[in-house]
């Protein structure tokens, strides 16, 4: 085990898979000579050559379609959208072509889309989004949202080995801010298995990605203030999602907050809340609270962006509301 940043962990996972499997190659904008806008692939072109670390033209549709074609020919492509926001330009190739290919004619499409996502640094409406909700609505895609360095490595490796199109959302705000123990060598994390971030007795928070840390800070504050005990469940993957782990934590605490950075209406939290209502109604002692970004674009100016993103104080307020119910 070594302590790594979230970014180093992604990079390590990618490098290990490229060394292990010659079918894995990378394609994206500025990922070669420059090493990627966030330097996740720094040094990769020197090690693996220009044929396996491909600087593409500014063409999200062609990048994604080319990944599908290469995958159909037996390769294991990993592409980078420079910001997850730009995946909108590849929507058709993902949703129309890649996601439905296996269902229609039985040919697997093992591709990975790396999607630097999330806000918190005034990236504005086009460099800050969390578009997982669009894709969670599309059968045939898998969606991964790691929160820890260990999961960042284990899930990128699992994504590359998965026989389906996988959207790997890597949260930009975690890249260098979050450090943690990462297993050396072979390390995979199974999709659809949530991670218990911290156990608690009074209130559960179901979340994923960067919001795990917002929840953690809020939980710390209320524990120190009055001893309120908060359980935090990190889903790790949105498709497939660990329904059983969610139902278990609801059964344990009977009060639940569903927290994500994506916007509110039809966000994935709605699916979680509906499932709790359908399958754990008898366990609830209070209505499910959905805590999300509001239904607006992500604004640029710091006070506006802060108002948009769920903050620690918003989580504390939600905990207090549920405690008082």
């Amino acid at each position: 085990m070594a302590v790594k940043t979230y970014l180093q962990a992604i990079s390590d996972g990618l490098r290990d898979e490229m060394r292990r499997d010659s079918r894995v190659f990378l394609i994206g904008e500025d990922i070669g000579v420059y090493g990627g806008a966030f330097k996740v692939t720094q040094g990769f072109q020197a090690e693996f050559g220009e044929d396996r670390v491909i600087d593409s033209p500014l063409s999200e549709t062609a990048i994604t379609g080319a990944c599908t074609g290469a995958a159909l020919m037996g390769m294991r492509p990993v592409c980078e959208m420079q910001f997850s926001d730009f995946v909108s330009c590849a929507f058709d190739q993902l949703v129309t072509v890649a996601a439905k290919q296996h269902y229609r004619v039985g040919t697997p499409v093992p591709i990975v889309m790396r999607l630097p996502s999330g806000g918190g640094f005034s990236g504005g409406p086009f460099h800050s989004q969390n578009p997982e909700g669009f894709f969670a609505h599309c059968p045939g895609l898998k969606i991964v949202c790691p929160a820890t360095p260990a999961d960042a490595k284990g899930l990128i490796v699992e994504a590359i080995r998965d026989p389906n199109p996988v959207l790997y959302f890597e949260h930009k705000h975690l890249y260098r801010r979050i450090k943690g123990e990462v297993p050396d060598g072979e390390h995979t994390v199974e999709f659809g298995k949530a991670r218990m971030h911290q156990e608690g007795d009074d209130i559960s928070i179901v979340t994923y990605g960067a919001m795990v840390y917002t929840a953690e800070e809020a939980a710390k504050q209320v524990a120190e203030r009055d001893g309120t005990s908060v359980e935090i469940l990190d889903l790790r993957t949105v498709t497939p999602w660990d329904k059983q782990a969610v139902l278990d934590t609801v059964a344990k605490t009977s009060k639940v907050i569903v927290l994500h950075e994506d916007t509110h209406t039809s966000g994935f939290g709605a699916e979680i809340a509906a499932t709790i209502a359908e399958e754990a109604f008898e366990h609830l002692d209070a209505p499910v609270v959905r805590l999300t970004a509001p239904d607006t674009p992500i604004p640029f100016s710091p006070p506006l962006e802060k108002a948009f993103l769920p903050q620690v104080e918003d989580v504390v307020a939600a905990i207090d509301k549920l405690s008082a119910y």
Binding site: R52, I54, L72, H102, Y103, R104
Partner: protein
């Protein structure tokens, strides 16, 4: 300004020898064109009989374009044919009974009822199934070519578009990436002059669609798509150029769509004189006449082929009708692939 080369027609027997086709090859092309049209004519009858759900599309007038290109492909080459390209599926060896089963939504259709009409392909024959959002498979063909280049395999990908679909961004991004990396890919435009009811003049402002190739750094060629031997010669040259590392080519195969967009459409908007002009260039009749002029097809052989194709297609329809409709439980199968499915020859 037109910049693409306009292909001169193949005419003499000497031209054909230069194209490396012997008599049996030439007759096989004829047979494949007959099978192609025969499948679509029978499909239309089945549709009118209520045996085919949904809609029904044909490629009448495009038989030479499709068969000519597919004949020029080698066994390890791959392609993404679209809705007027039944001849590609036929030439690559898709059994006609499975195509009828596909039309009828049966379990033995290539999409086993999950998708209909020409949305089908057998990857083992090097073909990938089209989607409705044309030309979304052009970037996919580029990705196949990219994998061949990375692995240094002597294979070529063929990516299809229609004239209407060339207005969409996928076409631009695919050709640009292919041009930048000099990928072993050949782009085919089935230019049948109409995108549903919209004529070419409302779809593009250049003289020829093949002129665009110049902007991407490769050659464009305009070909009479009703002339199977010229299509074959140009496709063969482009495919072998790509295989040798010479990069992409854009071939624009000009035809007229001789029926409506689909069978519900009587194509009233196509001027009658235009239809009559192109009817005289019917690709099968034209080729049959040429074979006879060159003494490559006598009456006896023609009868043999005609009878054999008819018998084969009748048998194919019968066999397809025996194929069961899918069980409703199949709805839930196959949304995601299992890991062991990657352990197949084409995925290694």
């Amino acid at each position: 300004m037109a910049v693409a080369r306009e292909a001169t027609p193949v005419e003499s027997a000497e031209d054909v020898r230069a194209a490396d086709l012997d008599r049996e090859d030439l007759l096989q092309i004829y047979r494949n064109m007959l099978i192609t049209r025969g499948i679509e004519e029978r499909g239309h009858i089945l549709y009118r009989q209520g045996k085919i759900p949904g809609s029904f599309y044909t490629g009448r007038g495009n038989e030479a374009a499709a068969v000519g290109v597919a004949t020029a492909m080698q066994p390890d080459d791959v392609g993404t044919p679209i809705q007027r390209d039944m001849g590609v599926h036929v030439t690559r060896g898709t059994p006609p009974w499975r195509i009828f089963a596909q039309y009828m939504g049966r379990s033995d259709g290539l999409a086993a009822g999950k998708d209909g009409n020409v949305h089908m392909a057998d990857i083992r024959l090097g073909l990938m199934a089209m989607v409705s959002h044309l030309p979304a498979m052009m970037p996919v063909a580029v990705g196949c070519a990219l994998s061949f280049q990375i692995r240094k395999q002597p294979r070529v990908a063929v990516g299809w578009s229609g004239d209407g679909a060339m207005a969409r961004g996928d076409a631009h991004e695919a050709m640009n990436l292919a041009g930048v990396r000099k990928l072993p890919v050949v782009f085919i435009v089935d230019n049948n002059q109409y995108a549903y009811s919209t004529p070419s003049k409302l779809e593009y402002g250049c003289v020829h669609l093949a002129d665009r190739a110049d902007a991407y750094g490769f050659d464009g060629v305009v070909v009479d798509g009703t002339d199977v031997l010229t299509v074959y010669r140009e496709a063969h040259a482009a495919i072998e150029k790509a295989r040798a590392g010479g990069g992409p080519t854009l071939l624009e195969l000009v035809t007229l769509r001789m029926e409506g967009h689909a069978v519900h459409d009587d194509a009233f908007y196509v001027p009658r004189e235009l239809m009559e002009t192109w009817a005289k260039k019917d690709p099968i009749e034209r080729y049959r006449r040429w074979l006879k002029e060159q003494s490559l097809l006598d009456e006896q052989r023609e009868d043999e082929i005609t009878v054999d194709v008819k018998k084969m297609l009748n048998e194919a329809v019968r066999k397809a009708e025996e194929s069961p409709l899918p069980d409703p439980s199949a709805l839930y199968e196959g949304v995601y692939a299992d890991p062991e499915e990657l352990d197949t020859p084409h995925h290694r």
